[in-house]
Amino acid sequence: MAPLVGALARPNDLPFLEGVLRQADYWAVLWARTWRGVVASSFLSPFLYVLAMGVLLGGFVEADADQLEGASSYLAFVVPGLIAAHAMQTAVSETTYPVMGMIKWQRIYESMLATPLQPRHVVGAHLASVALHLAATCGLYTLVLAPFGVYESWWGPFLAFGSQVLTGMAFATVVYAFSTRLRSEEGFGVLFRLGVFPLFLFSGAFFPVGNLGGAAWLARLTPLWHGVNLSRMFALDNVTWWIAGVNVAVLVVVMLLGWRWSVSGLTKRMLA
């Protein structure tokens, strides 16, 4: 991220990391209030998923490993995709209403920007908090689900975890940018219905996108598919490295573009 930050920074700006760290106490106070909820739900939800997807739904899904992209069971197929999709949802929920709230309801950003802090620092600290949330959630999911035999290698969970956090951050930056440009909260409803929900269902988290037939290429254009695919290849130890490279590149590019749009969006919105 450094070169991109550098490209936007000017000589008399506050250094990026310093500006972000000055907000550590603020985010620590917020975390002190919310971490229990994050941990509790990140423990409970995966059990519910295992029950619903692995036992109740998975019981009906009889398919060969070929048809499930190399997975030995439906549960093993669905878990890496599910965590990636869940990362997207976490990222979206952390960068929609909270961002609008800090812009126009509680007007926290206004108070921050009256100090030496600049939009880059404000966006950076907020997104760092989102990254922490993603790491906590995806990490706990992985911890809970690993004993169910859904990972094929010891290193799989680690790389899959990294892919899931990266997936979440790609969505976090883009949705943050969207939120800085939104005047009223109605836009979020549209985002959820026309963006998040279709992606959640059709980006290969729950069934192989090959099943979509002619529309499969469309699914493969979505950032979530890249995240799901990457996460699943690592979890199932079934990695085609050039595809993994493409998946990572797409997610990183989306994340960096989102970052730029976020900083420019917040600048235009708050420093008019």
Binding site: R10, N12, D13, L14, E18, R22, Q23, A24, D25, Y26, V29, Q106, R107, I108, E110, S111, M112, L113, A114, T115, P116, L117, Q118, M270, L271, A272
Partner: protein, 321 residues
């Protein structure tokens, strides 16, 4: 930059020359909120922007606070250019915005502490200052209360306390007492007086003429984005108004007609919807001679001229409608 501007910059806290601010409105048109103003604020003074709603006071304050890029003209704050040195300028400013933006979910202590950290001050330094500022703002007992439990006056005092956490050279107060009851206002004025005595340069916007008279050494009267007068409150009153004003209230609808009959009693007569204002050196005499002419006002009052009268004189409108 001209030679004189460079020179005045060295002593001046704020120098604005032909300063403009325009906004793009939702219909695509541009609206000019500040239309080329010249302002100079010197170290240690209390400087006011007096003007009615929409005069452009907040727009000016936001430019001075280095959070709103200027649309034209020149602006130097503490000798620096806000377009280049925003962080350095803001590091030495205290800002009390028109609408409180305290963190409602945090307690009073944390509001001050967290804000102090944004300035890069070490934790212990901030903690010490928070203690002092709570005393100063008379909020020590409320340190652990959530902000949404505070009264309007307490919130305002907390906002001012927060703006002092970095020991600013220049304190910007946008309508510090709007919406407060008289007692809370006086408490706040007292706080601001103490800051002034401590040598802090204050810039205050207000649409209360009594506030401007009480607090400001010097002020500009703003209307519709331009400055219509500038000077010390007393100077402005002496220059643009008479010593006294007789306020005469007659029956509804009679004022305009009576104004002509009384025109010769003072230097000037203003017709307001509910009363006549006759400007003269001796107000009691105006009242006496009104009665001599067989005119019986329902109520009459003699008072000294205020900045309100200056504003009325210069713009033909009242400050607070």
């Amino acid at each position: 930059m001209t030679q004189s501007m460079t020179e005045s910059m060295t002593e001046a806290m704020i120098v604005a020359r032909g300063l403009r601010k325009s906004f793009r409105q939702s219909n695509g048109a541009t609206f000019e909120a500040v239309k080329g103003i010249d302002v100079e604020v010197r170290r240690g003074e209390a400087f006011g922007f007096l003007g009615p709603n929409g005069a452009g006071k907040s727009s000016t304050m936001r430019m001075v606070a280095a959070v709103s890029p200027i649309s034209g003209g020149e602006l130097r704050i503490l000798g620096m250019d806000p377009a280049v040195d925003g962080p350095a300028i803001r590091g030495r400013l205290g800002v009390c915005p028109q609408e409180d933006n305290l963190d409602q979910e945090l307690n009073v202590f944390d509001n001050l502490y967290i804000y102090g950290r944004y300035f890069g001050l070490p934790k212990q330094v901030v903690r010490d200052r928070v203690g002092e500022l709570l005393e100063f703002a008379k909020l020590t007992e409320k340190a652990k209360s959530r902000v949404d439990e505070l009264s309007g006056g307490m919130k305002r005092r907390l906002t001012i306390a927060r703006s002092l956490i970095n020991r600013p050279d220049l304190l910007l107060l946008d309508e510090p007492t709007t919406g407060l009851d008289p007692q809370a206002r006086h408490l706040l004025w007292d706080q601001l007086f103490r800051l002034k005595q401590a040598g802090v340069t204050l810039v205050i916007t207000t649409h209360y003429m009594d506030e401007a008279e009480q607090l400001c050494d010097r002020l500009v009267v703003m209307d519709k984005g331009v400055i219509v007068a500038e000077g010390a409150p007393r100077e402005l009153i002496n220059e643009h108004s008479t010593r006294e004003v007789a306020e005469l209230r007659f029956g509804v609808g009679e004022h305009a007609a009576l104004a002509e009959k009384l025109a010769d009693l003072g230097e000037r007569v203003e017709v307001l919807p509910d009363r006549l204002l006759v400007y003269a050196a001796d107000g009691e005499e105006v009242v006496a001679r009104t009665h001599e002419r067989g005119l019986e006002p329902i109520a009459s009052l003699v008072r000294r001229s205020t900045l309100e009268d200056v504003f009325l004189r210069l713009t033909g409108r009242t400050l607070v409608d």
